[in-house]
Amino acid sequence: MIGWKGRSSLTAWVLGTLTVIFLAYQWLPIFTLGLLSFSGPTGGTTFPMNGTSFHWYQELWRASVMNDFKPPLLRSVLLAAACSATTIVLSVMAAQAMRGQFRGNGWFFYLMLLGIMAPGILVGFGFAILMRLMGVDLSWDTTTFLVQVSWTLPFGFLTMLAVFNRFDKRVEEAALTLGASRLSTFRRITLPLVLPGVIGAGLFGFSLSYDEYARSMFTTGPDATLPLAVMAQLDRQLTPEIYAVGTTTTLFSLIAVTLCTVAFWAMRRSTSLRRT
């Protein structure tokens, strides 16, 4: 018989091993992708690498018309920036509205949740039919933009709700008591205080839009965004070039996440400074 303590540490070992194995399981494909993107010019899509080089990154740079990832990349970045900006404005407005507890705010909350729950394939497909019936041509900068904001907005909204929940309302009250108007209090006091959260919501929106595939697929029309171009290339031919694109965009996403984390950390620090 093993005692309680022994059994507890046994469980810890078993669970710990499982966790580490799963961690490896999750990370190994990503590392392999990164590693294989540096394989030599004769390297295939799996090991051995046949030397190391930047060949596939160079290939990415001087691409032919067929597999040129630069225009899709530009489109994806512009689209993500537009979605991010729209998300910021609308989610700050919506979260501020929730603070006003307007009639039907419960329904409003569920409407936003629906945007997160509804699968991209249904939303994208339904919207594509709607546009077809209305006779609107599909394009990455109009229809895709509309659909993607419906995906990024709820996340920004939830972020802003959380931010306003943590926010010290007494600062606003002080400004209002001193005779500032509601608008100037919001502009001069509230907004600067929640700014890190706003930036977080924006980066969240950027990252979600930049990686979105299902919604874009139905609504983009002839000019593809980056995930669509990657998928199209995958259908044609699998080369390490795709791995190079994958590695590049993954690094790009990681930078966005880091910025996001730093923004939240800065906000936490500013709130804790206020408390002392």
């Binding site: 469980t11 669970l15 710990g16 499982l18 966790t19 799963f22 961690l23 999750q26 990370w27 494909p29 990503i30 992708l33 799996t46 090991f47 609308l90 407005m93 919506a94 501020q96 509205a97 603070r99 006003g100 307007f102 009639r103 409003f108 909350f109 409407l111 936003m112 949740l113 629906l114 509804a118 699968p119 991209g120 394939i121 249904l122 939303v123 497909f125 339904g126 919207f127 039919i129 709607l130 019936l133 509309l146 929940n165 606003e172 009250e173 209002l176 509601r182 209090t185 990686d211 995930p227 990657v230 998928m231 995958l234 795709i242 791995y243 994958g246 993954t250 996403s253 990681l254 996440v257």
Partner: protein, 289 residues
């Protein structure tokens, strides 16, 4: 007092743009899908008579019914695997990792891949699974098999392996949240009253984390049911689930057939979410005010 008056017209108008956007882009298209799936006649127009013919045609085909069954089975299996695995990982992270530094590092290690593109992560599984892939090379080098196993890439096994790595953290996340909100005194009290660790787990810890488990399962369910991209990337053209069928019909311009599948997919999802809502009251968790 705050920058916005309670129940003021201003608060109402501030919510209008977001609400209109969501209604126009999410609600209207989904309602439209239901409508289009009922269109009869030969032409694709709103003037079509409404019939259930499209549904009858779908259910008359044995292949499609089997596909629907496969989809549900596949999803249930993934829910079970990610649920158990996710719970173990969450339990380990919250209860067993004592040092805060390690815990933060592990959390980040789990969350960071979650932030990168799902599509790229699915593609990253391709060099792993092929006939000359990493798994086969590994198996052959340790002498487990002599010839490469072809059962990984373009197979159900491969799809499942990739999806487990993609969605386990979705099942684990809400459990982590619920586990860390359990007061340690509860467990101590039970231990003092001479409950065995197993009893403490089943009678105290698990019931308290149940809402987290259910939310995680709902997330996995919704994502796997609609995940056509991973299936297409790893399954090639050999495997399809219901969501791939939507795409297939759409690409061959069979819009009404595609809407039928989309509506059936939607009904499956609604049923799943309603069952989940019967188990836990998600509203209690969602609105923290």
């Amino acid at each position: 007092m705050s920058t916005i008056r309670v129940r003021s017209p201003a608060s109402y108008w501030l919510a209008v743009p977001a609400a209109a956007w969501m209604l126009g882009v999410v609600v209207v298209p989904i309602v439209l899908l239901v409508w289009v799936s009922l269109w009869g006649g030969r032409t694709f127009s709103p003037a079509s008579p409404l019939t259930f013919d499209n549904y009858a045609r779908f259910f008359a085909n044995q292949t499609y019914i089997k596909l629907a069954g496969t989809t549900v089975m596949h999803t249930v299996m993934l829910m079970a695997v990610t649920g158990v695995l996710g719970y173990c990982i969450a339990y380990c992270l919250v209860m067993k990792v004592r040092s805060p530094g390690w815990r933060l590092a592990l959390f980040l290690a789990f969350i960071i891949p979650f932030w990168t593109s799902t599509l790229i992560r699915a593609i990253a599984w391709v060099p792993f699974l092929g006939v000359n892939g990493v798994i086969n090379q590994l198996l052959m080098s340790i002498g487990a098999t002599r010839s490469p196993i072809e059962a990984f890439l373009y197979s159900k096994t491969g799809i499942t392996m990739a999806q487990v790595s993609l969605y386990t953290m979705m099942a684990a996340g809400p459990v982590v949240y619920m586990l860390s909100s359990i007061a340690p005194q509860l467990r101590e009290a039970a231990m003092t009253l001479k409950a065995t660790p197993l009893t403490v787990f089943w009678r105290i810890v698990f019931p308290l984390t149940l809402p987290g488990v259910v939310i995680g399962q709902v997330l996995v369910f919704l994502n796997v049911m609609s995940d056509f991209a991973t299936v297409a990337t790893i399954g090639g053209n050999k495997h399809a689930l219901l969501s791939n069928l939507v795409l297939l019909f759409y690409e061959s311009s069979q819009i009404r057939a595609a809407s039928v599948v989309a509506v059936l997919l939607m009904i499956c999802m609604l049923v799943g979410v309603i069952i989940a809502l019967r188990v836990v009251d998600v509203r209690r968790l969602g609105v923290e005010r």
